[in-house]
């Protein structure tokens, strides 16, 4: 009789699967630079052939030069730090409140029913439109930026956490009940690890919204941060400098986003999402 214990594993297909995983991982490292290079080339060609004014669209080389200048400018680093600080602080508040409230909502039906209209309201109200109000209330300083970043990133973290805790498999709960696990053990050994993929998805969306929040906050008030710097360059008609700031922001965004990705691979190596992400 064929013993499934020995027959079941994956010897012949394992090598194939590993090779496919290798190509999956290697492919973006080739295609991404090639496509980006083509895009930049097309941009350069367009500007040169169509004779676009550098005030409207500077050439990639000029943007690159402006960015190198930006890197040498200590004031630019101050602005960068202010944006990073506002983003991460706001994001941290959103994490604590979003995850905490998400777990509570998922566990207490009455709390969900009570709070749901308000949660939906915070989601539906165009929060960016409230930014001037935040500036009015909390001043032109860093506080208003932190709050905008927190408000924007709070909602996806909350909903994903609540969804994660609610999606826990009933069979898994039965196991914990039959093992007479305590409430804390159920949370620590079942609910938290089970909800973690959802929470990380919330964080991934949240961190991007937090940067957006911080930068929009900087657009509309104050005298520091990359958002402010971008507006300043625009007002001075330094379009290449503006593009450089834009590039700087994007690099920042990528760094944050991939940090969460790295966190995902570290925390949930067992989950499919940790394998599919670049």
């Amino acid at each position: 009789m064929p013993d499934d214990a020995r027959a079941a594993s994956l010897p012949p297909s394992a090598a194939l699967a590993r090779r496919r995983r290798m190509t999956d991982r290697a492919l973006p490292w080739i295609t991404t630079p090639v496509l980006a290079g083509l895009l930049i080339l097309a941009w350069d060609l367009y500007v040169r052939l169509a004779g676009v004014s550098p005030l409207i669209l500077p050439r990639p080389g000029a943007v690159w030069q402006a960015w190198l200048e930006l890197l040498r400018d200590p004031r630019a680093w101050h602005h960068t730090w202010m944006t990073v600080y506002a983003t991460l602080t706001g994001f941290a508040y959103a994490c604590v409140l979003g995850i905490g409230l998400g777990v509570l909502i998922a566990r207490a039906r009455w709390l969900e029913l009570t709070l749901n209209p308000f949660i939906v309201a915070t989601q539906v109200i165009p929060k960016v439109a409230l930014v001037p109000l935040f500036v009015l209330w909390f001043g032109f300083g860093i506080t208003s930026k932190v709050i905008v970043a927190a408000v924007l990133s709070f909602f996806p973290i909350l909903t994903n956490t609540a969804l994660g805790v609610k999606s826990i498999d009933e069979g898994h709960r039965d196991v914990m009940v039959s093992l007479n696990a305590s409430r804390w053990q159920v949370f620590r050994r079942l609910e938290l690890p089970s909800a973690l993929p959802y929470i990380l998805t919330g964080l991934e969306v949240g961190i991007v919204l937090a940067i957006i929040g911080a930068i929009v906050g900087e657009y509309l008030g104050g005298s520091s941060g990359l958002g402010h710097l971008l507006i300043a360059r625009l007002n001075a008609f330094e379009t290449d400098g503006m593009f450089a700031v834009l590039m700087h922001m994007s690099i920042l965004g990528f760094t944050f986003y991939f940090s969460i990705g790295a966190l995902r691979r570290m925390l949930i190596p067992w989950h499919a999402s940790a394998r599919l992400k670049v």
Partner: protein, 272 residues
């Protein structure tokens, strides 16, 4: 028959109602039943006969509406609270393996020990011994998703045995497996039972599986769920797969199937 001082599992006038006051469902009528120490008992019946309810009540997952359940002489419920002493005598295996996908096979098997505060070296040693017992040696570092359904169910059995309960409860443990694997797993289960001498209560709707595995088959009938008859199966152990083609085996299966059909007709008769 040599009975222990108290049976492994005792149902005293246990009854279960589900649902609301307006629309109550009688899941299990007043039932008395004693399972002897070391016995292999199979609960057999059509869907809706309350066999899973019975098993989940023994496992402490459902509280009976009235009556008393005692495990190794210890009450399972007191004032609406599950009693840890009774629960520690029970290991449960579900239809799905219900392994935690974020734990390796080894850690899944050792989870009950971890919850009970057993130190890590001891957990590892115990998990290794259990993996040998259920035949999944060398797979301890794998994720559950990397194993076949049959192997996952073996791991689930190992997990249920990890804290050495005296009773193993199994709710259609091989129902989700293909026929070949299922037969192999039944042989394995018999071997594990002969090696460990646990008391086993297993739920199934396969007559052949019930007769092959059981010391006693409890036939349940639905609406309300109740014990219809108890059939003692006397074949010597270990039982081999070709036992199933013997005339005696076939006769018992036929008898049970006949009775199950009668139950079904009575049921539909009531409905009309």
């Amino acid at each position: 028959m040599a009975e222990a001082v108290h049976p492994a599992i005792a149902f005293g006038a246990v009854e279960k109602w589900y649902g609301t006051r307006d629309e109550p469902v009688h899941a299990l009528a007043r039932t008395d039943l004693a399972v002897a120490d070391g016995e292999f008992l199979v609960l057999l019946g059509p869907s809706g006969c309350g066999k899973t309810t019975m098993l989940r009540m023994i496992g402490g997952l459902i509280e009976p509406s009235s009556g008393e359940i005692a495990i190794e002489g210890k009450s399972l419920w007191r004032n609406g609270q599950r009693q840890a002493q009774a629960l520690s005598e029970l290991g449960m295996v579900f239809q799905d393996a219900n392994l935690f996908p974020w734990l390796s096979i080894e850690k899944n098997i050792a989870l009950p020990l971890e919850l009970k505060g057993v130190p890590a070296p001891e957990r590892r040693a115990r998990a290794a011994a259990l993996m040998r017992l259920v035949g999944i040696e060398g797979f301890g570092k794998r994720w559950p998703r990397e194993l076949s359904g049959g192997m996952r169910q073996r791991a689930a059995i190992a997990r249920a045995l990890s804290y050495e309960p005296r009773i193993l409860l199994m709710d259609e443990p091989f129902g989700a497996l293909d026929a070949m694997t299922r037969e192999a797993m039944n042989m394995e289960l018999q071997r594990i039972w002969l090696e460990t001498r646990k008391t086993i209560v297993l739920v199934t709707h396969s007559i052949a599986e019930a007769v092959f595995l059981a010391d006693r088959v409890v036939l349940l009938s639905p609406r309300p769920g109740r014990v219809d008859r108890i059939e003692r199966i006397a074949f010597a152990r270990p039982r081999m797969p070709d036992l199933q083609s013997s005339a005696e085996f076939q006769a018992i299966v036929r008898g049970l199937r006949h009775r199950l059909n009668e139950i079904g007709e009575e049921g539909s008769g009531h409905a009309r």
